[in-house]
Structures are given as C-alpha cells and as structure tokens.
C-alpha cells in the first residue's frame, strides 16, 4: 500500500514538474506506513551501507557503488543527493518492485549527518562510513559539537555485527566510540599516509582544534585539509591512530586525476588512478576502498573499476558553452571552498576563476563563513581574474576586496547567465575555468549549461 502510494506520487510529481520527484514520493509512503524504509531495505541481499559526513558523501558513495559494480554486483543508491530521511525512502521506493522487494546485492546510500542516527535506527545497515565533521550551514541551528554528537549516536545505534569506517585524520571522527564490546562492531579507519600532500599550517579558522577527549588544544605536525592531519594532544596523549586502510604515493594530475596506492590491513595493495582532483578526494577513495573491503569486494579489481569512474553532478564536472569550457565544483561550506581554492591555486593553470554564492535555504542563508575562508591567497595571485556571481555576489566582492584582490580583477555578475558570459569572454580556449559554486548556484549553472546542450542532466530517470 505504502509502496504503491509512493510510486504513484513520484510519477505524478514528475509529470506535474514539481521537481525531480526525489523526495515527494517518500513523504507520501511514510505517511501511509512510517516503517516503510526499514521494510524496503531489509530485502536487499548483501545489505545497506550508509555514507555520511559533511563533505564528500556523494562522491564517496558513487566510488563505493563503482567498486561493487566492478565485481559484478547489482547496486543501487540515491545518486541525486536527496539524503534526508524522505529522500532515502523515495530512493528505496524507486528501486523496489511492485511487491516491495529491492532485488539488489547492495544498497549504498548517502545520508545527511543530522539524519544519520534516524537512518541507522530505521535501516539497521551492515555498514556506516563517516568521512569528516566540518562546519556546514550553521543556520540549520546546529553547531559542530552537535553534529559530532549525532554521528556518534549513529555509530552506537549500529546493529550487532555491523562495521563502521571512520577517518583517522579527523580527530573527532577517529575518536568515536564503537560501544561496548559484545556488540561485535568492527571499526576500520582510513587515512592519508603521504606527507608530500600535506602542509604545516592549519587554516586561519578551523572548526575543531580542541581534543575530543579533554578539550585541550591539539598540536598538528601535518595538515592534509581543514582540521584533518597528524595531530596529538599534549595534555592527554590522544594521537592520530594509524589507519587500517591508507593512501600513499599520491600524485595529482592537475585537477583531472589522482594517482595513488591504497594499502589495506591484510597486506593488499592497489594502484589506483581516478578522474577526480584534490587531496580530499584521495581520502574519499581510501574511505570507499575500506568500506568495499569490509563488504567483501575483491581489491584486485579496484584499479580497473575506478578507472571507469565518472564524477557526480558538480564534482569537477566539465561542460562547455559558447566556445569556453567550465569545470563545475561544488563549494558549499568553509572546508569545501578552502579545499577547492587550494586545489585550484596549486594544480590549475586557468587565469580566470568564478565563484558563485547563493544564500537560499538549501545553501544556508548565513554566508558569514566566506569571511573565515583564506581568500587572501587570491589577493596574492596577481594575474588571476575572478568573476563573482550569485544572490550575494556583492558581499563576495567585498570579501575579495578585503582580501587584497584589486577592483580591476573582480567582475561582479549576480545573474548566472551574465556570469557565464563574463567567464567565457575572459576564458582561454581549451583551458577549463574552475567555477566554485554553492548548491543552488550549481543547480542554476548546471541547468543553463544543460539547456544550451552541454553536459548531462543530473536528475536521473527512474
């Protein structure tokens, strides 16, 4: 009954163009049967793995699906990124047959951090992947301590025999408690093991530099990204644990690819090349490999599988328009923008950069975080032109001005179509312009590019 109602609602919603139909069917089905999510997902043969954390959920879930599919397994997910409880329900509905069975080997779902405890309680998954805990959209009224608390709740809510994969380099995540031992929960840590991709300084404003155990200030001997790196507490002795699955020999091929070796606990070692850019994505690959190993996926096929990987919507996706090419990169919070700026400034050769800042509800209406990002680096790149766009383009221009970017290097174009024109006027032929966009700005830019015939639509057909 719930399944039928939900599927009908989905079809109707898409017909009426109420959106991609990604959550509305979930609302309807849950109203008919509040337990529908647990019932649907319990029929998945191998089990369900949830992927959560502030940044990298979509990419890591997609990597994990690619790894499992490479083994010949049938896998489903929520690639459209609807990751609240209604979105998960809608995704499960879409994958179910008329009798309410999900005939798949594995279901890999990305889950919003705050929804994670509820998703774990309803789904009782086989595994949970926690990538990181950064500051995100503070106007959702949650501070990072509360986010960490929710993630810890999710770990403690795992059913007996489940595994969880956590980030050794993120002090909070690495310190989560698996619960009392008889539950038989296995904890697998992933992390980066290549000091050449780290640096010595923490970003000016970091989300958590205090020890999760005693709240003293942590000391970092190396930082990979945000507050993730090699840390140690001078007071209680807490230190970054050795990861069970580590990435080393990391080499960045511009923003186009990462080459790395992933080394696992049973002595396995896989040389990977994946078409993604930036240090954080090396960590995402390690996380996906750790989860795949726990699911029993054979690591010897990983290199072949990941070589075929295609980035998700707006994660370093390439598109072209009026002879210029664009690299769309989602930058929705301080850690994301910081990391993307690092990647662009160190790995990219484009003389133009675009940044679009919207303050819609899905972006987070509070944009104060742009002031905490080290934009001063753009001030020190004297030849770089910056096109700023979005509903808060003028605040962004002010931020850049205060960061030392001279007025003649800043082009303010609040509307997406004007910004695209300005970018294509400034762009060099054949060099993609990195475009760092908040969530709804990404939708707007993406839709414009799709309408003009470049790039694939992002809402997946059922």
């Amino acid at each position: 009954m719930a399944v039928g109602a939900g599927r009908l609602a989905g079809a109707t919603s898409r017909k009426l163009r109420l959106g991609g139909g990604t959550t509305f069917p979930g609302d309807v089905a849950r109203a008919v049967d509040p337990q529908v999510l647990g019932k649907l997902t319990s029929s998945v043969r191998g089990g369900v793995v949830l992927v959560t954390g502030t940044n990298g959920k979509t990419t890591t879930a997609a990597l994990l699906r690619t790894l499992a599919e490479g083994q010949g397994l049938s896998v489903g997910g929520n690639p459209s990124g609807s990751n609240l409880i209604y979105g998960l329900t809608a995704a499960a509905l879409r994958l179910a047959d008329v009798s309410g069975k999900v005939e798949l080997d594995w279901l890999i779902l990305e889950v919003d951090e705050l929804s994670a405890p509820r998703a774990v309680a309803e789904i009782r998954p086989s595994g949970l992947v926690i990538l990181n805990a950064f500051r995100d959209q503070l106007d959702r009224s949650f501070e990072i301590d509360q986010v960490a608390q929710r993630l810890q709740e999710a770990v403690l809510g795992l059913p007996p025999g489940a595994f969880w994969v956590g980030n050794a380099d993120d002090p909070r995540v690495a310190s989560f408690d698996s619960g009392s031992s008889p539950r038989g929960i296995s904890k697998i840590l992933f992390g980066l093991n290549d000091e050449s991709v780290g640096h010595k300084l923490l970003p000016a404003v970091v989300d958590s530099r205090s020890c999760p155990r005693c709240r003293s200030e942590l000391e970092f001997s190396l930082v990979y990204y945000a507050h993730c790196g090699l840390y140690r507490c001078p007071h209680c002795g807490l230190r970054r644990p050795n990861p069970d699955v580590g990435a080393d020999s990391i080499r960045m091929i511009g923003l186009d690819a990462i080459e790395m070796e992933v080394v696992g606990p049973a002595g396995w070692r896989a040389a990977i090349s994946v078409p993604l850019g930036g240090v954080v994505n090396a960590a995402n690959v390690a996380a996906a490999m750790a989860a795949a190993a726990a699911m029993g996926v054979d690591q010897s096929r990983a290199a072949t599988s990941l070589g075929r990987f295609r980035p998700s919507f707006g994660r370093s996706q390439l598109a072209s328009w009026r002879g210029a090419s664009f690299r769309l990169m989602l930058a929705k919070n301080p850690a994301g923008l910081e990391e993307n700026l690092t990647a662009v400034l160190t790995l990219d050769k484009s003389p133009v950069l675009a940044i679009a800042l919207n303050d819609g509800v899905a972006d987070g209406r509070d944009i104060s975080w742009i002031w905490d990002v080290d934009m001063e680096r753009l001030g020190r790149a004297p030849d770089l032109r910056v096109v700023v766009s979005g509903t808060r383009a003028r605040e962004l221009a002010l931020r850049l001005g205060y960061a030392g970017v001279s007025a003649d290097r800043i082009t303010v174009r609040p509307l997406p179509e004007d910004a695209l024109s300005a970018v294509s006027d400034l762009a060099q032929t054949g060099v993609p312009v990195p475009c760092l966009l908040t969530y709804t700005a990404m939708l707007a830019w993406h839709n414009l590019l799709v309408r003009s015939g470049s790039g694939a639509p992002f809402f997946q057909a059922p």
Partner: protein, 267 residues
C-alpha cells in the same frame, strides 16, 4: 598620524570565539584604519593570566561568537582574569564591541535551560535566558539616534537560542525592522552604553556597517571624526544584504524542501 605608535586592538579569545565570520570584523577595523594612514595592531588575548597584561596595553576591544562549550570555559577566564582590566579600560573610554555569545557575556548572568546561573562580566545591566526556540535569519534594525549614524540602518544575520533581556535604563542598540532581535518579542536589538556595545548582528557585522566600524575606531583613537574614505564596495554589499532581508520574511513555504527552519515571526 603615521609614525606614531600603532593603535592596539585587543581581540578577546580569537580561537574560542570566532564562529560567525568574526575575522571579517577584525579585517574591517584594520583596513579602515590603514586606509586613513593609521596602523592598527591586533593583539590576541587568549585564556590565561598573561592576557590581562596584554589587555592593559590596548586602546579598544572586540569579542565574537562561540559555541556553547567554548563559551563556558571562556566566561570563567574572562571574569576571573580579564574582568578588572576591561572594566578599567572601558571606564577610561576604550571601546568594547561584542557580538553574539560575546554580547551575552557582557551581561550580569546567563540562565541555562537547567536553571543554572552562570555569571557574566556585568559591564551592561542585562541578562540572557536559554530557550528552546532558535532565532535565526537576516536581521535589520534602525540604530539608536544616540549613536549619531548618518545611515541608521544596521544589517546582519542572527542565530541564537538565548534570549536577552535589558534591565531598567539600558538602551538597546536599535529596534528590529526585519528579524527577531534580543528576544523575538521586544523588538529590541543589542544594547549599548557609553563605549560598550553588544549585538546579535553578525555576518560579519562591521564590513557591511562601516559607520559602526568608524564609531569603534573614533573611540579607540579618541577622535571626534575621521576622514571619509571610499565606501563603494561596502555600500553595494550593504544594499544587497538589505534587499535580501526585506525580500525574505516568510520561510514557511520552504519547509516542503525538508530544510525548513523553526522560525515563527513574533508579530
């Protein structure tokens, strides 16, 4: 004014209290001084006893917003180790600007949900009570005429669950035009007396409200007025923020998107 000793700005608890883009407030002070040929040195005043000596060397102060856990530790350090020197400095005319959690710390006390009374600095007669409601959104106010701002609109963002009540005789910083303010009901926002000013406006506050930044600089320098500078970037960011605050009063229809906010307009 060049060649003199640089002005010293005491930045209280820069690590613990830096939640809502407070770095932008510091940047605004430094740059607006610099553009008038005035050197401004930022002096971090952190936890511990040595902070009191550093504070004694400063001509003005700033304290920003923080997470609840940080705020408790900071409150004790602030009262025990810095309270005396701050009181003295302020009584001699040094400006103190406090935002969000910093604003709450200026009062007599904070009443937690469990009923515990956490003492504050007591620089302003006000107190804050924890509540279940979160007051979140764009906030636009008209500033108290006593501040003598040419453009009295102050614009920013608020995000607090504490409700702040001003005691008899204390002047609010201004009255709410859009948003919630101190309690969501009183229409009052912030508070100020002489050289001490507290507010829930962040986002950050000073880059978009340059006149308030100059208020702080004037007091810190002991000057009646400052030479005007080119404010065009500031002004357009300010107009953009004002337009956003005026346009988006009602968020209820966004609830369908699953990211709805528990904000009810008080009036």
């Amino acid at each position: 004014m060049t060649g003199e000793e640089p002005l010293r700005l005491g930045h209280l608890y820069p690590k613990e209290m830096n939640l809502y883009g407070d770095r932008g407030n510091i940047l605004a002070m430094v740059l607006r001084a610099q553009r008038r040929g005035i050197g401004l040195e930022v002096v971090p005043i952190s936890m511990g006893a040595d902070g009191a000596d550093r504070a004694a060397s400063c001509s003005g102060f700033f304290i920003g917003g923080g997470q609840d856990l940080d705020q408790d530790a900071v409150a004790e350090d602030l009262i025990q180790l810095k309270g005396e020197v701050l009181r003295q400095k302020v009584s001699l005319g040094a400006p103190l600007l406090a935002v969000c959690a910093g604003f709450q710390l200026l009062g007599t006390h904070y009443l937690t949900a469990a009923g515990t009374r956490i003492p504050g600095l007591g620089l302003l007669p006000l107190h804050t009570e924890a509540s279940r409601q979160r007051l979140v959104g764009n906030l636009m106010i008209t500033a108290d005429p006593g501040l003598e701002l040419q453009d009295p609109i102050l614009i920013g963002f608020e995000n607090h669950s504490g409700k702040t009540y001003l005691h008899e005789g204390l002047t609010p910083l201004g009255y709410v035009m859009h948003g919630q303010g101190n309690t969501g009901q009183s229409r009052q926002e912030g508070a100020w007396r002489d050289t001490v000013l507290g507010t829930y406006l962040h986002g950050p506050l000073l880059p978009k409200n340059p006149e308030l930044c100059d208020w702080w600089l004037r007091l810190a320098l002991g000057l009646e007025c400052l030479p005007p500078i080119d404010d065009s970037l500031e002004r357009s960011a300010r107009l953009e923020a004002i337009a956003v605050a005026q346009r988006r009063d009602d968020f209820s229809r966004f609830r369908l998107l699953g990211r709805g906010l528990p904000t009810k307009r008080a009036r």
